[in-house]
Amino acid sequence: MITLKKKKLPDAEIPTSSMADISFLLLLFFLVSTVIDVDTGIGLTLPEYTPPDQQELVPISKDRLAAVLINENGDVLLNNEIIAIPQISKTLKPRIESKIDLPANKKLVVSVKTDRKTDYNLYIQALDQIKDAYFQVRSEYAINRLGKRFIDIDERSDEMKEIRDKIPITISIAEPEAVKK
């Protein structure tokens, strides 16, 4: 007699043991090809363009202005005194500090002027020093008056606004003069 025995099907299974290997391979590819390059740099806001014939000269009183001149040999002149680039920060700091409590129209203006042949690297170093002076003043203000570290203060908080109002970073890039090339 023929017994109609139902054939037992083997368990249908997808072999997943190699799945981990495959995904590791993909993962490695993305790990290797990822470039996490953060854009870092010195931020600046340029003044609006006005044609040379419409430019007006606004007089700025001497004690508000810190003029930084860098010539093509790399000599730096800060308010008519020759100084080295690493000294800029130290020289500017007391001047910025002395103007913290003054109204906005009496704050320090740092003017940077370069020659056409000045080395770009030197210009960045000088700008770095100026920014550094401002950052130092700002962080000291944050600790002494607000009791917080500057980096802990939220970008949009009132405290940050207060710091920005009290110690605004005003760096003016001097209007280039027509020079003989």
Partner: protein, 137 residues
């Protein structure tokens, strides 16, 4: 008396069934955070170094201008003449009003070319700039 080694009754294998899930999660993280380089940089440049630097938080706003060691200028993905910067950047500025222009300028450049580019940017009213630098350690 017969001594018998005690054996745990559980299966002696590390359960690997969830391994692919974990790895896929990592994979997805990297896929999402990766920004693929969109442009080929055609000029060679070495950035200057500085201490007091800021991060640009919003990458979408950034648009780059490269200046190489030889003084060639690249905007977008092609080399450009100085006079054309104004037109290109103005178009960018119209599309994205608060564009930040990141200047990736070689450190051995002279200020002449930098000033010229800045004047062009001012004419195009792209006023927010950022001198790209590396962190000095």
């Amino acid at each position: 008396m017969k001594f018998e080694k005690k054996r745990a009754s559980t299966k002696q294998s590390i359960p690997t069934a969830s391994l692919p899930d974990i790895v896929f999660m990592l994979l997805l993280f990297f896929m999402v955070t990766t920004t693929l380089r969109e442009v080929d940089v055609l000029v060679s440049f070495r950035l200057p170094e500085a201490k007091a630097i800021e991060k640009i938080e919003n990458r979408r706003l950034v648009s780059y201008i490269w200046v190489g060691q030889d003084g060639r200028i690249q905007v977008n993905d092609s080399l450009t003449k100085l006079e054309e910067i104004q037109k290109i950047m103005y178009a960018k500025r119209v599309a994205l009003p608060n564009v930040i222009v990141s200047l990736r300028i070689d450190k051995s450049s002279q200020m002449g070319v930098v000033t010229d580019i800045q004047q062009e940017l001012r004419k195009a009213s792209c006023l927010r700039i950022n001198y790209s630098t590396l962190l000095k350690i």
